[in-house]
């Protein structure tokens, strides 16, 4: 009989190998259909009229001109007179028309009168935020920080932070919605939450949960911003019903995507941190603030990873008239990491220690993963040649010139990433083919591929025999893909379903092989007597014994025997060059050392890390949601001024995944979030090391670099 536990390394045929993603050929050939690509018979196009004001009360709305336009099929008011709008580009009304141009014309023809109210859209300077926009601060103290600071020999005090950024999914949020019958809805939605969106939409429409079908084969990015059905989705579905159920496609325009479809909140903190001259950390104090829109935002976990016996934190949640925050890869961690690791780097510099030595000296303060971090730091230092290139702050690393300074920076991070609840149905057919149905979604992380690997490995059949079906809420429910919870959930449920199915098959064929199921195993496409390959039958022969009745098993997570765990550690090191005349930063090398338990597919796992690092370069150097104080609107809701890194911006990247003893036995742990956490801190620290002064706030744009140099009294003109 087969067991649930993951196979030993020597017995793995697919798990942990470098396997190309299953849906790669569809994606490179344009065959992969995304929600944006869905065209339905008789489909109408939806367009939304949005508020030009960041804060205003709606006085009146006149839709008559829009409704009478040829080609316009319906207009629906989303927020009516009397409503107070809290951020620019919030939805006012929705139009459905026969084509996009007509729908746009009609949305423009709607006349809205507003009573404009005062707004606040920027919060970088705490002192300039009006009192009305500040929530009462929260404060927490541990130990006796005041006494500890009095015993500190070196203290650093500075401000660190990052501005609001957006998710900027390449496929904008949206859906195609229709009513195939009077009481049931079909949604094609770009979502990270295929299994729960049907119920969510049904609740909004007061329909039974099972009456909304949701489908999605591929998604063009989510990053935490695509969990809900969203008000615009509900409104489009209601408008479809008004129009006899006709399909309506509503995909957000790029400016709306960047303005209202999710942000990562800002985070700023005035930090005081102290140590002994020998580098022993003693105390932490921070006063922080930030905003994720009208609802403000909670405090990131300061100090991050490092557990101080004596610490005090104080946090101000700021309410601003900005589109609301949504989960953004590793919510709160990149901000907390930047602030903490930035302050520690500055402290090391003030003491005169190499930050690598400083971090290693205090590593026990990181708690349970201290040994993982130590191993990763040493590996990373070797990969980036830390000791060869690093020079004390401001001296410029090896290869610096009079105007171009090189620097190294490091950071470390953690994340949970335990598996979510996941159900799946696995069927072994009498012809030997295998199918698995699971209400999950593949965000481009390789979920399809990893499920196929787990099933093929568990049944010892070629991968090609396993067909993976996901992307429908008609399949057994599996969790949302967020918080790096998918791999643990789907790998565990598909492993259990596979092993259960295999054991049923072994029981079926045991009499033919003249033995009992507990004496049989599946190896290389055969069922054989354990230790005696001469007594065997092929997988196909075995499955033929099923007659006409396939085996179907339900796999679950959580379930019997724990197959996944939570909690990983990672280290990143950046090597940058900074032109002190222009303020332009170039990435030379960037390395990541990452743990994620048992790796199912090395190729897509590495891609996750590379991707997170590239996204990290982007938010460290370029990304900023620039809000205009005068108009209350975003100034760069487009892709030329909301800048993403291009292929030439990234430098040389290397990734090392921690595997083997100490890692594999923990089972698969999620990888989407952790490597996104450290880039800001590592790159910011590298820049500080290069130019001898901290650029306090991300993104590290040339103007900020020059301003920091000017403050230092440096070479900037």
């Amino acid at each position: 009989m087969a067991e649930y536990k993951w196979p030993e390394e020597s017995k793995r045929k697919y798990i942990g190998k470098r396997i190309s993603r299953l849906d790669g050929p569809d994606k490179v050939s344009g065959r992969a259909k995304y929600t944006f690509d869905i065209n339905r018979p008789g489909m109408l196009f939806g367009k939304v009229l949005r508020s030009p004001h960041a804060h205003a009360k709606i006085v009146s709305i006149d839709t008559s001109a829009a409704e009478s336009m040829p080609g316009v099929k319906g207009v629906r008011i989303i927020q009516g007179p009397g409503t107070e709008i809290q951020w620019a580009m919030d939805e006012i009304a929705l139009v459905a028309a026969v084509d996009e141009g007509t729908a746009e014309d009609a949305a423009r023809a709607i006349k809205v009168k507003y009573e404009v109210l005062p707004h606040v859209v920027n919060e970088r300077e705490l002192a300039s935020v009006p009192a009305a926009n500040r929530r009462p601060p929260t404060e927490q103290t541990k130990g006796d920080p005041a006494a500890a600071f009095s015993g500190a020999e070196v203290i650093v005090e500075d401000v660190y932070g990052n501005d609001v950024i957006t998710h900027c999914c390449l496929e904008t949020h949206g859906l195609v919605t229709e009513w195939p019958g009077a009481n049931n809805v079909l949604l094609h939605q770009s979502t990270q939450s295929i299994s729960s969106n049907g119920g969510e939409m049904a609740r909004a429409l007061q329909l039974p949960a099972g009456s909304v079908e949701v489908k999605m084969d591929h998604i063009g990015g989510g990053f935490g911003s695509k969990f809900p059905v969203d008000r615009w989705g509900v409104e489009a579905t209601k408008l479809s019903k008004q129009l006899g159920g006709a399909p309506i496609k509503l995909m957000l325009e790029r400016d709306a995507e960047l303005t209202v479809a999710g942000t990562r909140p800002s985070a700023y903190a005035k930090v005081k941190v102290g140590a002994k001259k020998d580098g022993t950390l003693v105390a932490w104090e921070s006063e922080s603030w930030g905003s994720g829109g009208v609802a403000g935002t909670g405090m990131p976990p300061y100090p991050y990873v490092w557990q101080f016996a004596n610490q005090k934190t104080r946090h101000h949640s700021i309410s601003t008239n900005n589109g609301p925050q949504r989960a953004w890869r590793a919510p709160n961690h990149p901000q907390a990491c930047l602030v903490t690791m930035g302050a520690l780097e500055d402290l090391a510099a003030k003491i005169g220690m190499d930050p690598l030595d400083f971090v290693l000296k205090n590593i026990e303060m990181t708690g349970v993963r201290a040994n993982v971090y130590r191993d990763e730091l040493l590996k990373g230092a070797e990969m980036i040649e830390w000791k060869k290139i690093w020079r004390p702050r401001g001296q410029g690393g090896v290869g610096s010139t009079s105007t171009v300074k090189r620097g190294l920076g490091l950071s470390l991070h953690t994340w949970g990433g335990g598996g979510h609840a996941s159900d799946c149905d696995l069927t072994v057919h009498p012809d030997g083919s295998v199918e698995i149905k699971i209400g999950s979604q593949d965000l481009g992380t390789g979920t399809r591929t990893t499920i196929q690997i787990v099933v093929a490995e568990s049944l010892a059949v070629p991968r090609e025999m396993v067909k993976v079906h996901l992307g429908s809420n008609k399949y057994p429910p599996s969790g949302s893909s967020g918080g790096s919870t998918t791999i643990g959930g789907v790998s565990a449920s598909s492993r259990r379903a596979s092993i259960d199915a295999l054991n049923l098959l072994l029981e079926k064929v045991a009499p033919t092989l003249g033995t009992t199921a507990d004496k049989l195993e599946a190896v290389d496409g055969k069922i054989q007597v354990i230790g005696d390959p001469t007594k065997s039958m092929t997988w196909k022969q075995a499955c033929a014994k099923l007659g006409t009745q396939p085996i179907t098993t339900r796999g679950k997570n959580p379930g019997r025997e724990n197959l996944t765990s939570a909690g990983v550690g990672g280290v990143q090191m950046a090597d940058v060059s900074v032109d002190i005349e222009t303020g332009i930063i170039r990435m030379n090398n960037f390395i990541a050392v990452q743990d994620c338990g048992l790796i199912i597919d090395m190729k897509t796992a590495e891609s996750q890390v590379f991707g997170a690092m590239i996204m990290g370069v982007t938010f460290s150097l370029y990304e900023e949601k620039i809000m205009d104080d005068q108009t209350g609107r975003m100034l760069n809701p487009n892709m030329e001024f909301y800048r993403l890194a291009g292929l030439a911006d990234i430098g040389n990247f290397k990734v090392h995944m921690m595997t083997g003893k100490g890692y594999d036995e923990r089972g698969p742990i999620g990888l989407g979030e952790p490597p996104t956490v450290s880039p800001g801190a590592a790159i910011s620290n590298a820049v500080a090391n290069a130019i001898g002064v901290r650029v306090s706030t991300l993104p590290l744009t040339p103007d900020r670099v020059l301003a920091a140099l000017a403050r230092k009294g440096g070479q900037a003109s």
Partner: protein
């Protein structure tokens, strides 16, 4: 001017206006084909210039070797005509203003942004989309290299990158680092697949060279 030379111009002028881009593609008479009020059209009527619109017009587009008839307003872009009217959805709409390259298609052998060419301007021209690259079920070497090197995650930028890579290698069979930087500088990815893309370009260049030396370039 080769397509990658064109990208080179763009790279040097980071802010490319749609108008400049349209000029860059060599499309004549852009201003005259922008829909105008009926009165204005008559005034703009210049001998030898066909006035189209503003109402829907019947046009034929040569898409991947097949003539496709459709009716579009003059303001409809080639990208939207492909996607909304012809259900050819490989090219993606992302920025919709000539920044990200997700809509890249090849027009008369030149790489263009489909969001910045009007459908009516593409009449009589050879339009190649990502759907045309694979032949007889075999992936083009560029496509295969993208799969092999995992040069994709969500995959939404991938069709545009594949077309840009194909164009790059068609014009620069042995691309230098600068050729790659400039040839692919007009495409953006959010998931961060550039490490894989760089490796894919190298693999595809090697494979395409082998094919050429065996005689007969495939897929133009």
């Amino acid at each position: 001017m080769s397509s990658s030379d064109e990208r080179r111009d763009e790279a040097e002028k980071p802010v490319v206006s749609r108008r400049n881009f349209l000029k860059g593609t060599g499309v004549a008479g852009v201003a005259l084909t922008i829909p105008l009020a009926p009165g204005a059209e008559a005034q703009a009527g210049v001998a030898g210039v066909t006035v189209i619109g503003p109402e829907r017009s019947k046009i034929t587009l040569n898409v991947n070797g097949t003539p496709r008839a459709l009716e579009v307003e003059p303001r409809v872009t080639l990208l939207d005509a492909l996607r909304n009217d012809l259900d050819v959805t490989g090219a993606k709409r992302v920025c919709d203003r000539a920044t990200c390259g997700a809509c890249s298609v090849i027009l008369d052998g030149k790489l263009v942004y489909g969001c910045s060419v009007l459908a009516i301007e593409a009449q009589g021209r050879k339009i190649e989309t990502v759907e045309s690259l694979a032949s007889n079920g075999q992936l083009h070497p560029v496509q295969k290299a993208f799969v092999d090197n995992d040069a994709q995650q969500c995959g939404f930028c991938t069709p545009g990158f594949v077309m840009a890579c194909k164009s790059l290698l068609d014009h620069h069979p042995e691309p230098s680092a600068d050729d790659i930087r400039l040839g692919l500088g007009g495409n953006l990815c959010r998931c961060g697949t550039y490490v894989g893309i760089k490796a894919a370009v190298a693999q595809a260049a090697t494979e395409m060279k082998k094919t050429r030396t065996k005689g007969g370039r495939r897929n133009g």
